[in-house]
Symmetry: C2
């Protein structure tokens, strides 16, 4: 017989999920009610309004897709891109590559603007690609590349897209709630995120927002959306305003309780205060890491505060460091992916994991394990450096 599952105690400082606040966990455990219950429908309206605030948008079409961040990505592409369309896709990490896959599986053409992993998207080359492909349906890019810890200039990229008559499709999975995501100010058209990063909810929901321009493009389609599940023309009849909701699929009720609670907490803290907290924790972690003698390979100007790529000292087996952190302290940090595998660790400071407790624990544990493994680290300097940032 299989017993119940009781997870080990962990501190999550990888690329996501981040530590989920006990208030959000408690919300997930509230009794399930029906997906058409008047009380649930009223909660859906609140989730929508709270998401609009988090995205800084007035977009009517704003909802959490019932699936992981990849479902939100796929929803944007499958609703907006049709066979034969051309989409300029910026690839500077794993998630740009996934966007390309999405375009190609829709029998559309992906014009790829490639950039070295660890570098932001190059505006001049994007502009050249848009010029070389007049009539491109969309420009797709990742605001915050979770695979590298790099932030690209979303405002400039959205403006480039609009200037060339293309829609912008923007991945903000790792940025929403942690660094400014200003959908209306950017003029972003289809913007998606995830629940399990800086919103500090459990994984499984993907907030998406479409501008009126994106909605118009959806309505002007020549062909039906290829996915029934993700077809926003159907989904909005359930998520749209009004008391009379049309059943589409059974919403993940308890997951939505969790998202609601995490957005209530974000509202209580204030969006700007949350951005400032992520920035401060990053500054403290960085100060500690540098005092220890470790390097952050991403250029300071485009570093994501909530996801820190840290160079692995030469000759070190990075996997054994992660394993020891997990086994001894229950501390999870992330490995490098793709081009950066073996070269960096990824230290997440997202949502509930962006706290002095996390920064301090991570520095102390990492220093102990690195010193033990003979890495050239300065012992005893990291915590005082971090404390100066944290507590003055």
């Amino acid at each position: 017989m299989t017993p119940s599952f009781n997870p080990p105690q962990r501190m999550l400082m990888g690329p996501g999920p981040s530590d989920v606040h006990p208030r959000v966990l408690a919300a997930m455990a509230r009794p399930t009610i029906g997906h058409l219950d008047p009380a649930f429908v009223a909660m859906m309206d609140e989730v929508k309004a709270l998401l609009q605030a988090a995205f800084r948008t007035g977009n009517e079409l704003t909802l959490p897709v019932s699936g992981p961040g990849s479902a939100g990505m796929e929803a944007c592409f499958v609703n907006l891109v049709e066979p034969g369309d051309t989409v300029v896709v910026c690839v500077n990490g794993v998630f740009g590559g996934r966007m390309k896959e999405n375009v190609e599986r829709l029998d559309a053409t992906a014009v790829v603007v490639e950039e070295a992993w660890g570098r932001p998207v190059d505006l001049a080359r994007v502009e050249a690609a848009l010029k070389a492909h007049p009539g491109a349906k969309a420009l797709a890019f990742v605001h915050a590349e979770t695979s590298t810890g790099v932030q690209s200039d979303a405002a400039a990229l959205c403006a480039l897209a609009a200037g060339h008559g293309a829609l912008s499709i923007v991945d903000t999975v790792t940025s929403l709630g942690g660094t400014p995501v200003l959908v209306d100010e950017w003029g972003g058209d289809a913007v998606y995120s995830g629940s399990q990063k800086c919103l500090s909810c459990t994984p499984g929901l993907s907030p998406v927002t479409f501008s009126p321009r994106a909605v118009a493009a959806m309505q002007a389609r020549r062909s039906k959306c290829r996915s029934w599940l993700l077809d926003f023309s159907l989904l909005t009849a359930y998520w749209g305003g009004g008391a009379k909701r049309a059943y589409h699929h059974t919403a993940p009720i308890n997951a939505l309780y969790g998202l609601h609670e995490s957005l209530v907490m974000l509202q209580e803290e204030g969006l700007e205060a949350s951005w400032a907290r992520h920035r401060k924790m990053h500054d403290a972690l960085r100060a500690g890491l540098e005092a220890m003698g470790l390097s952050l390979p991403v250029e300071a100007a485009c570093r994501l505060p909530q996801l820190n790529a840290v160079g692995v000292p030469a000759g070190l087996d990075e996997a054994s460091v992660r394993q020891r952190l997990l086994e001894r302290y229950g501390l999870e940090i992330g490995a490098g992916l793709g081009q950066l595998a073996g070269k960096v660790w990824r230290l997440g400071l997202m949502g509930n994991s962006a706290s002095p407790l996390h920064v301090t624990t991570c520095l102390a544990a990492l220093e102990a394990v690195l010193a033990e493994q003979g890495a050239p680290v300065t012992v005893g300097a990291a915590l005082p450096a971090a404390n100066r940032v944290l507590f003055g």
Copy 2:
């Protein structure tokens, strides 16, 4: 400021979600750990084995898709059906119609075998359709139509498909755990379900199992799967056996805790005992409804014990009855859908909602509200009739 959401107290006896057991809710609230954590990966293996047992299959490709039942449906079609294929689709309710949508959005041809809502799929007409369309890629049907409460003969339909060289795609969203779903015995090829019906978990996951024949068909595709998110050739690298998992998407960790717990509970009770419980609660409810003078329009031979269509007495406003049940007692029952809208209610007895408490409460509350609204019901007979079945 938006306050936290506290759901009203409900008793769920609609078409799903069903009442979630406190053990499952408690599991959902356990701390989130990483989707590549060794402890989580070991739990995934248990979920897989428990699902194999629930589906009565040895299929290696057995996993919960990260989305609602409709995501499981879409996963089956998008992995198996290619543009230009022909699929025979049986439509005798809402969900057969959704299958047709799936086929057509894949640029394949749906040959529809239509049946009146409330009737099971007609075997002779399915056979004729398969004969008329040699080379059809698949036969798709709904085992347990949630919209009508009708069960079709899955064993015979799977055999017909196999006899004509077609794959069988089977919807068991409402049957899994409640009535026999015998995937290997039937010879079913792609079978999907949902977490929120007779498994009594929260909505948001869709268990799917593929036979070796379905896996071979997937591997023999001429074109890439159109969905990146649902592409089983990628997903199985994460869900597949072995300690080394390839990241695909971030799994909905806490939802999987819940599914694991609900499957552990099913194992504790025993699959056959669960089927017997659903049958007994149905017998009791039916005895009570009939004693009250209400009718069950679906023929006894193909009635789903876990979803009871009940005829609305002539001249009655069915919506006001549901509304009063919800407002007074917190009791949710389902409305009729499509062809049956206004004509039936749907009373679910699924999973944790298949209990003497639910049967008794439902009969008592329904009788009180119907009598008050002047419906021609016999008062005082329902509970004794149900009690005779429940307690002898």
